[in-house]
Symmetry: C2
């Protein structure tokens, strides 16, 4: 099978390189970036490309740019937004940071029940239909990859059905993070993906507008994957990182 060639613009490369330096700690908070003109030389690109890259750093809350003064690195732990999660989980050299992964698991565990409850309280009929359709599709397949995609879509529908834009945006960011370790999760969380009965019951709970039940079912459901992944992370606890260089799927 062919893979789509990945093409990266210069400003993307500038952004990625500086971002990794900051997230990796090579550039500490308070440090000054080299001047734009100097960065041009160092990176061998035009100043416009450098500026575009820096604009994105600024948008991510990683640097503070001051007209006339040097551009300074900020403390991303204090200033960064959730959108940093994907690039924080997987470092430049393709290793997964175990501690970040644990944090994400906790976040998922906190949000999933609340999403389910709220979706049930909304009781959107369209949502129920879509959820049931997805569950039906999940029953029709044993392909791990298809199953995983359906499980992902299921939660996308549930989040949309909750009518909560804050949940939805959080879910989008989490999803982007999720994608970066997609093929790892396919194996590790297989049991959760096979938990179709509970997803079916959850759809019923939404249809019945039973918030308490939906919340409980969601809690039980995500606990399956949490347990599995936690166990894996524990095994790698001492190394603090998991090599993750090969990635057949983006």
């Amino acid at each position: 099978m062919f893979q789509t060639l990945l093409k990266q613009s210069l400003s993307d490369a500038v952004y990625a390189q500086l971002r990794e330096r900051i997230l990796g700690g090579d550039l500490a908070p308070g440090d000054s970036l080299p001047s734009e003109r100097l960065l041009c030389e160092m990176l061998g690109v035009n100043r416009g490309a450098v500026r575009e890259g820096i604009k994105r750093l600024q948008e991510s809350g990683l640097v503070r740019v001051r007209h006339g003064g040097p551009t300074q690195v900020l403390d991303f732990q204090e200033e960064g937004g959730l959108e940093l999660l994907p690039s924080l989980l997987i470092s430049e050299d393709g290793q997964m940071r175990v501690k970040v992964a644990r944090g994400i698991l906790s976040l998922r565990e906190s949000l999933a029940p609340a999403v389910a409850r709220q979706a049930a309280q909304q009781r959107n009929e369209d949502t129920v239909l879509k959820l049931r359709a997805i569950v039906a599709s999940m029953r029709d397949t044993e392909s791990a990859d298809t199953l995983q995609q359906h499980a992902f879509d299921y939660w996308g529908e549930l989040v949309a059905g909750s009518g909560n834009i804050a949940f939805r945006l959080s879910y989008n960011t989490l999803g982007r993070t999720y994608r970066k370790i997609w093929h790892l999760l396919r194996q590790v969380m297989a049991d959760e993906f096979r938990d179709r009965d509970r997803l079916s019951a959850l759809a019923d709970a939404v249809a019945a507008a039973d918030g308490d039940l939906a919340e409980q079912l969601a809690r039980e459901h995500v606990a399956i994957g949490t347990a599995a992944l936690s166990q894996l992370l524990d095994a790698y606890a001492e190394s603090a990182r998991i090599d993750f260089s090969q990635r057949p799927r983006s």
Copy 2:
């Protein structure tokens, strides 16, 4: 008193204007942006400024840029990250979107207990000291503004003490959103800010590593503000927006 003059670079202005058009629905998903050269003319700026602005739109997940083709608007509900929350809460004309505000309240309600529990499980001594110092400061003042700042700092410490980077980044984004309606919340959530006893007990629970208790206390604590703000939002439910033009504090 003087206010610091707000200076905005051209690319900031370009970004802000296009972002508001997208979030406000003037530019629908699938629409194409005018070409860069055309935008230059329309906005009366040079092309570099336009490109820098568009780079930030791209970083925010609001548009998709393709070399050779038109730049297209994405569906921010499906593609946007949590970092959109602040600009989504307050629209260009200074009105608060009630539905977004409700969503944020839910998110806070979901996260706060989990943060408290995890902070307790970590039982970082430094965190406990800082929490108690903040509570002590809160007992020393009746100034609504100071109280609010301390309450904000308290949660910042608790989130840091949880050792969970995913929580922390979420909190940062929520905090930025929070700041946009800072002076409204000062009045509405005054009761929560005066709930010093529970914050004190929460610090004790963290010191005792009692996760269950910490979670429960946090839940009760944020319920105070949630109830107050919910009530306010209900009153404005029919208008769906609250005018929010004046803002003495950034």
